[in-house]
Each structure stands twice: as structure tokens, then as C-alpha cells.
Symmetry: C2
Subunit: 368 residues, 2 copies
Amino acid sequence: MSGFLRQTLRNVTGYVPGEQLDRPGIIKLNTNENPYPPSSKACAALATVSPEMLRRYPNPTARAFREAAAAVHGLSPDHIIATNGGDELLRLIFATFAEAGDRIVSTDPTYSLYPVLAALEGLRFEAHALDNTYNLDPQAFLRFACGEQPNQGPATIALIVSPHAPSGMLFTEAQLTTIAQGFPGLLVVDEAYVDFIAPEIGHNLLPCAQTLPNLILLRSLSKGYGLAGLRFGYGIGHPDLIADMTGLTKDSYNTDVIAQALAEAALRDQGYAMDTWQRVRAEREYLRSELSALGCRVYPSQTNFLLAELPPLANGNSRAATAYAALKQAGILVRYFDTPRLVHALRITLGTPEQNAALLRQLKPLLT
Amino acid sequence: MSGFLRQTLRNVTGYVPGEQLDRPGIIKLNTNENPYPPSSKACAALATVSPEMLRRYPNPTARAFREAAAAVHGLSPDHIIATNGGDELLRLIFATFAEAGDRIVSTDPTYSLYPVLAALEGLRFEAHALDNTYNLDPQAFLRFACGEQPNQGPATIALIVSPHAPSGMLFTEAQLTTIAQGFPGLLVVDEAYVDFIAPEIGHNLLPCAQTLPNLILLRSLSKGYGLAGLRFGYGIGHPDLIADMTGLTKDSYNTDVIAQALAEAALRDQGYAMDTWQRVRAEREYLRSELSALGCRVYPSQTNFLLAELPPLANGNSRAATAYAALKQAGILVRYFDTPRLVHALRITLGTPEQNAALLRQLKPLLT
């Protein structure tokens, strides 16, 4: 820490991203990447990048990407802001719509970046505990978000990850629109995992994002499109909300010309992406039933990961902590959160069938 | 503007980047891109990007790039932070080292993004006027930065663009180290144009960035390396300053895997880059003498642009404003700043010999 770090950051702990081991042969099931590579059309877009495109500044708002996203989603480009990963969108939302000292709310647990970003912006972060099945009572959340204490006004921003991390739980359109309509602040629904929802559920918040003035949806190409290396996300919302960020708070050229081209190609290739989502869903059902058969409590997931609670050890200690370490030793990374609520759980990204089989082989002896 | 925009941003005007016209045949001499394309080795790095690299999260600190930059500059990777363009570094410096309400100082004129970023972070931006040759009196600047008013303490951060924009003036090592050593806050020297300094001057602040605890140098690949489309910059400074930003305030994965690979390849190809800088310098001398012969006052430049003051029209109005519009009509974009100090000036990016000749052809009738 330097002597120049500002006072209000001196007690803030930075966000710690999942481990990125570079050892060959590692099976990475800890950071929710898609197990399948990006569309060959996205990779082919690399060859279309010319020296002249690199030499000149990119389009500041990723116009061509936004047109592609608008076509795919049935929106107008004015509903969309392209960002350097979904994380940049979260930062922009805080920087644009919340004043230092404001109250920001989410669920507990939630994406662990939210409280870090809130602290960096000088915001007060408060979380409403989900029930023990990770479900969300919209009326209870609304009361919490609107302020239950005397003299406590409504929060400025509420953030809900849906499908939820780290549980995998999908909150319904009815739950989320009830909150959006009853909440006077801004509701951010972080849909980083939306692509993995079973299509037969018919979940779709896009019409709400067009009609409700206070709803922003976060989308990411890191998970659904196999492009975590690219850093590309986008926000969907009312054109006035989008314009506030585009015109005022985002860096002038926040996304680069190559990323814009690949993101556009990946998004336009819906057929390929949908095929990878279907394959992930098939493995999700398989791995969930296998882990359940081994005595784990596995929550229903509409994402590309499973939250599995392992039975405690005979002495009451966390078997999950032991399993995490043993798996790592065997070259398999999963995510372990050392918090009271998650002390017995592992969050396991769905891999290829071969990777999932390897995980089960290593886990079995640890569970019997 | 939405009803959700926070109060303190309602009177802030966003940064307006230079025009990026897409009409074919446009000669773009308005945003200081390098007229020459990036190294063929950087372009070749595109072919090394594999689907697997795209699928996984990138190295969060651009390790390989930082090692390359450290080797080129004779530093350690701990002295370096890689950022999504130099603009991200500026934002990080403000967010990390300045508290809302703090006083931030620079020169007048300066890079017009500084006051915008300061306003977004709730900082008070104040500028010390350069003299009428755009030179900087370090003692006068120090007195200003340290606070001349009663009860006014020193500024938290001082920013100096050197070589200076929009004048092209290089401030000397002696001027800048005098300021760094006498200033109790953080000094940021924005070296976006450093690559175009004539090598015989022997200007080099890198040793100071290793020894002084309060100096951060900003570097960019947008200008010197012909990679404006890539969004890649970096900061150089004491490891404690770098760690504050890397560990706390930067987004976890702020630069993407492709940009990291291309930036590394471009930086390692110093031979090619230096050749483009030499060609730009040769044109700088030529264009300066031609514009001077046409009656313009052209400031000595160590950058890849020239600031030329055009004689006013007979009625006293700005000939520069007229010339800007006429050049645009003819398909040549230059930068015109509509501010009292710069009302008679054009900032002209140095193009290829052919582009500069075309500029002169169009300008001549406007100057006689």
C-alpha cells in the first residue's frame, strides 16, 4: 500500500478472481467458462482485422455490435451499451446512478464483486438473505430494498443475479417484475448466465427491459459464447439509462475494434451458441443426478454450474474444504467460498463430458 | 437524461472525442493516430490467438506484456500496470488516489479529458495557465499546485502532458523532476506522445519513475505503435503505486487476451516502431516549415502533431474556424478547439507525405 492511497480505500479488500492456473492438463471448473470454444465464425473474424482497422480509433459505441445485438433480441441499438466485460457495466451503473453514501442492495449470497465495487464507489452495500433453498420472496426483498428502518429511504440500486450465483437458481419473470415495479430505484438483473436457461421455461425479460424505465439487464459473452478471454458484455435498458452511461461515464473508447468484430460474429451465430448451451444443459442433468446419488445436496441450476453441498466430515468439519484441496492436488479446480453459508459447498462449473467424468472419479472416494 | 442520473452529474458535460468519419477517402489528421500501420509482427500475433485462449479468462495483469515492457524499458514488471487505453489509467489514478472534493491540478490548456474525469469523480479541477509560448515555469506551477490561497493545501494530484497537447511542447526532465520533487502529491506525466521526441534530445523520465515515490508515467500504444484500435496503454511508477491500482481499483480482467498478445508483439518490435517515429519527425520538420512560410505561427513540436495559429481574417474573425470547415468539406479532418486561447489555431496530426501534401494544397488558398 502506498502513502498516496486515498483514506477511504485503506480498509477495502479488492476482488479476488478465481484462480487461473497455467499448468498444462488442468481441468478448470472454477470460473464458469463455457466448456466449448467460441463459434468458428468469431474465430474467423480475427482474419478480417486489418492493420488499418488497428491503426484507427474504434467506433466509440461498438455500433455494429449493438446493431447485431438489437437484431438478435428484437430491440433497437439505443437499448444497448457495449462494455469491456460485464464487470465494466456494473462499475458504470454504480458510477452513473449512485451518489457516494447511497444505499445499494442485493441478496445474500450474491456475486462477490458487488460489495467490492460498492466500497470503491463509497456506497453502503446491504444484502437480504435468500431462504435456505436460495429462493427469493419478492415482497420481502421489496420491503428490504425500500427501507424497513425508521428514516431509511429506498435504496438507489438493487442488484439481483438471475439465474443466481452461486446457487444456480432462476428467479421467475413474475418475481423480478414485481420487484422492478414496486421499487422506486434502479433494478439491475445480472443475466450473465441467462443463456443456459432451459428454453422450455420460456423465461424472457427483454420485453420488460423495453417497457420498464428502471430495469437494466446485464449480458456477457464470457459464459454463453465461450469468449471469457475477450472481455465483452453489454447492458440492455431504457434508452435514457443507456444514454446516461454512453454519453457521460464510460471511457470514450471502452471496447476495441477486434473485440467488437468477434463479439458481433459470435452473437450473430446463434445456432452454434445454442448448441453449446444444449450440451451444457444435458451435462447439468447428468452431473446433478450423479452428485445427488453420492449424497450431495445439489441445488436446481439454470446456469452452467452446480452448487453442491457435501455432507460434513465425521468431526463436523467441512468436507467441501478437504475435497477442494484434494481436487486441486489432482489437477481439478473448483470454487470454494470460505463463508459461513457456503462452508460445506463447492461450486462446480460444468465441463465437457470427459471433464465431468474425471471430476466424478476424483470426488467419489472423497464422498464415501 | 434519465431520472436516475445522480444529481452531481447533472451539470457535467461528457468528453467529446474527435470525429471518426467513416466516409471512404477521408484524410484523418484530427485524432493523432500514427499515419503508419502497426508492426507486421503485431498483426501476425492475431494468427496465434486460439479458440482455447478466447474461451478462458485472460491473465488478469497482462503478465507477458508487462514482462516485455519491463525488458524494453529496463524496469521490473512490478513497475507496470497495463490498462484498457491510457484513458483507463487516468480514471484509475483518480479513483485510487483522490478523495471526492480533492483538488486536482493541471496546465491550461491540457488534455481535455482531465476535467471531465475529475468532474465524474467529484474532484475540483484547477488549471495553471502556460505562458504564451506554451512553456511551463516549474516554480510557478509548484506554487500553484501547492496552494497559493490562504488555507489552501496542496493538490492531491497534478497532471502534466509532456510532450504537451495541444501545443506539441516538450517539458524538460529538469522542469518535471523539479515539480515531482517539490510537490507532496502525486505527479502524473502523460507521455502519450513520448515516442515522437527527437532521440538526440536524450529525454528519459524512466529512471525518475524508478526512484521518485510520487511519479506515474502514462504510456499509450495508440500513437507510437499505430494501435489506436486496440485500446492499450500502461502506467509506470513505484511498485506500491502500481499495486494500489492493480490490487484494488482496476477491473479484474481489464485487458483482453488478444490485445495483450498484440501489444506485446508491437512493443517487442522496437525497430519497426522507431522507423515510423523517424518518418513522422521528418514530416514534422517539413510541414512546420511549409506552414510557417504560409504565415502560420507553428509551435515547436516533439509529438506527431503541430499546433498552427492562422492569421485572423481581415474582419478579425478566426481564419482557423473557416479553414477547419473548408478542409472538412474537402475531406480532410483536423482538430479545432473553440476556446478563447485556441480560437485561431488548428491542431494538425502529421500524416503520410501524401496526406500532408494534400493538406497543404487545400490550405494554401485559405491562407492567401
